[in-house]
Subunit: 545 residues, 2 copies
Amino acid sequence: MKIVLSQLNYTIGDLDGNVNKMAEHINRAKNDGADIIVFSELSICGYIPKDMLNYQSFVKRCYTALDTLKAYANGIAIIAGMPTRSGLTKGKKLYNSAVVMADGEILQEVHKTLLPTYDVFDEYRYFEPNTSFNLVEYKGVKMAITICEDLWNLDAPHLYSTTPMDELMALQPDIMINLSGSPYSYNHVEDRKNRMVANAKQYQLPLVYVNQIGAHTDILFDGGSMFINQTGEIAEELNYFQEDYRCIDWSKDEVYPDNSLDYKDEDIELIHDAIVMGIRDYFGKMGFKKALLGSSGGIDSAVIHALAAEALGPENVMAVLLPSKYSSTGSVVDAETLSKNLNSPYKIISIEDMVKVVEGTLTPHFDGYDVDVTEENIQARSRGLLLMALSNKYGSMVLNTSNKSETAVGYATLYGDMCGGLSAIGDLYKMQVYEMARYINRDREIIPEEIINKAPSAELRHDQKDSDSLPPYPVLDKILMLYIEEQKGWTEIVAMGYDEALVRKVIKLVDRNEYKRFQAAPILRISNLAFGVGRQMPLVGRFYN
Amino acid sequence: MKIVLSQLNYTIGDLDGNVNKMAEHINRAKNDGADIIVFSELSICGYIPKDMLNYQSFVKRCYTALDTLKAYANGIAIIAGMPTRSGLTKGKKLYNSAVVMADGEILQEVHKTLLPTYDVFDEYRYFEPNTSFNLVEYKGVKMAITICEDLWNLDAPHLYSTTPMDELMALQPDIMINLSGSPYSYNHVEDRKNRMVANAKQYQLPLVYVNQIGAHTDILFDGGSMFINQTGEIAEELNYFQEDYRCIDWSKDEVYPDNSLDYKDEDIELIHDAIVMGIRDYFGKMGFKKALLGSSGGIDSAVIHALAAEALGPENVMAVLLPSKYSSTGSVVDAETLSKNLNSPYKIISIEDMVKVVEGTLTPHFDGYDVDVTEENIQARSRGLLLMALSNKYGSMVLNTSNKSETAVGYATLYGDMCGGLSAIGDLYKMQVYEMARYINRDREIIPEEIINKAPSAELRHDQKDSDSLPPYPVLDKILMLYIEEQKGWTEIVAMGYDEALVRKVIKLVDRNEYKRFQAAPILRISNLAFGVGRQMPLVGRFYN
């Protein structure tokens, strides 16, 4: 039996576009003589349309798209993901379903049982969980079809009391098929592969696992669809961060040779590819071609500039150097060199006149007050204003240049350097930004070594260094990771040997800056716990963690 | 049997503070000879601590607070809300519980069955639903204790397959007790009362219903706790938007006279009180005393100024008039009059010099481009920059001045007039802002009539009117309400008699401005569907609703 794994990049809500893409792969599968083609979770509408699902008109449109797709189901069975109406008198109105089509008709619908509602997932907001279990039979093959999370309750700790494959095994399936919407994080790729292999071994069944690729704003899907033997070898592994198509010729009980890729978690290459895809997709799906960023001569803007140049083409990324009297000559020269190395256009616009007039305007109102952080914020916001004006005029989007370390402790100015439509490295700690810079320079010096080697500075006052306000990044990043990713309280972190005063200071900074992050640009998620929808903290509250 | 309803204002995460407040009411209840005191849902930690619940250290602190509270349970039973550890090997780690304490010990724990996961609610993100049903007996009285949503599955459409009171009725309870965290919206107060009355009638049992008050950033709790007869009359109704305490002397089968308040939904008075509480609590719980706002002489900033003056004291609200060459004399005079009427301090700071320098700085870079919205945004962002600088220097918080109509269609400048720490009227459509202005003027002319009567204008170019870009507000607001609150698609709205081109234009504006709202200040929620956590839309996507 020939089964096609179709790994596509969908656009949320673009039902016609998605169906057209799917139809291309269906036609190719027919040419290949395939019996079945499998798409990923919610493929028809994109994963996940969020509150568009609350609109009956949207669900209706999904059914219209399904009708279009159904017509392609001749000579081939199609398994596609879609929200379906539950028709329940008690419960939510929708299921998250796999719709199986054959001979121009709907053969069967299979609904998702386990609805992830944690981190970036919110599925119980929309869907009723499935409670009845049936196989789907096609051409004599009995398929146990599940959707994403359904295969993730195998090991302790069990997040759910039901394990769908345990139920389905009673019906003696021949093969497992999973439609997935499993986002990338650098802690997730190996885990996902291990878990899917564990399923094949546990149930002694082959597994066809189809994931999607593409960025839906902050959430990055990496693909990596697989065909796994009943003995647990990965016989086919599709590409990462690219659309892909694979037709497998499967016979029962046959064991295919291992053919897995050798990506490893925390591979900087994968993180790089994830961010490049994230930038490219956000701009593409938003209808933007051109980006603009403030280029300070520091490491963060340098890395973003290089990543954006790769995503959008260097000619489409404009660097704007916005020096003040506190900017070192080195910073300007380094930023210029970077633009030249990348072949990007750049501009130098001094903020001096603007800052002087703002300060002059405010002088009578600041009488009797000391100089404080206000004056630094004025510089950052002057830069923000100029960048936004240029982006308005040129029809480009400003790239935010914050990293995760400074986003965490609030070492950034709201409406100043926090401005921008997308935060490309807001989920990379400072030490990871350095690692990325070295990766970018792997073949030649794109980012000048001076940028990588200089002490980090916001250059908002004379001879300022980040280390004046913050602990050294190697220490800061570790404390942050323990507090944010690993959700340890301060007593637990101190017990690991970190200085109590320092830990409490860092945690306090993180907590009291929720209000800033609330207004931050969307952040491309590359870790298992990114700021944004994956970490929802009260703005008002007392924190003692 | 004497039962106390304790309606308090909690602070999320302030466990000591919350327990101290509760202890005061316990002591008062003891003085009143009460047998039982009932607090609201998650009272010990505040509703809802969101992802603080993912920290084991936080849950541990809740248990420590519970120990403190337990010691007060002598001569009185205490029923308080808290997250408790589920101890399950399959399922989520926590329950949302009512802990019943007596004689210094925990008598029983009752867990919430129905976990709202829609709108602003996200409880299945944290909690495992209860599946076993038991009464709690104290002094011979059998209590059916439930938590908030547990009583909301009475009528069709049933959102859940289980109805907890149906299960508990088999055990023959004497009274129902509900611990609630039911937020205010102007569509909700009557509905809530009707539903609780329906429960009493359905089960022919009296109901002690305890809600909380206070603002947790955007979510406003209004109180209105009740004691309802088994025949459905509201015998006691506690105050709205104020802490309250009521000791009832209840005997089985007795029917108490109706004593309900006569608030009605959409009462502008309730909306007014909600927003005033929202401002006061956000500032108070954030540790801010002083506010600052851009006062344009328009209706929005006037209404916010008046509401903030009531919440914080007029002397703590500074109005900053930021005229440009496009500002009419009337606008400045009207804004001045308003500040004088309110007895608030105000400043006039022209943005002319700043705008001139910014435009001068950008002239060489704008060569060959036409004048467009860029120049308008520069003015709005210059104002934003000056407001933020003043708030930094004075240690005050900027109040955002956007209303729901302009937030919906994106008629606002990101980092310009969208700046601020809190959006007080971001859930009021323009027509509701007018209604609020008239209510504020109910006794005397606080907001000058000129402000109420002039045609709305952003005054960002010569002789500009909102009606140049937008349909008249009475029409716009109706289309927006149908699309946002009622979740109708464009075909449905057109079928109601609205012009198709207009409807599609409005909806397109709403959809394509998700990216702006993503970076907006938190909005005090007063409707059943506010922008913010209650309406989660993809930023990237195609919308055809």
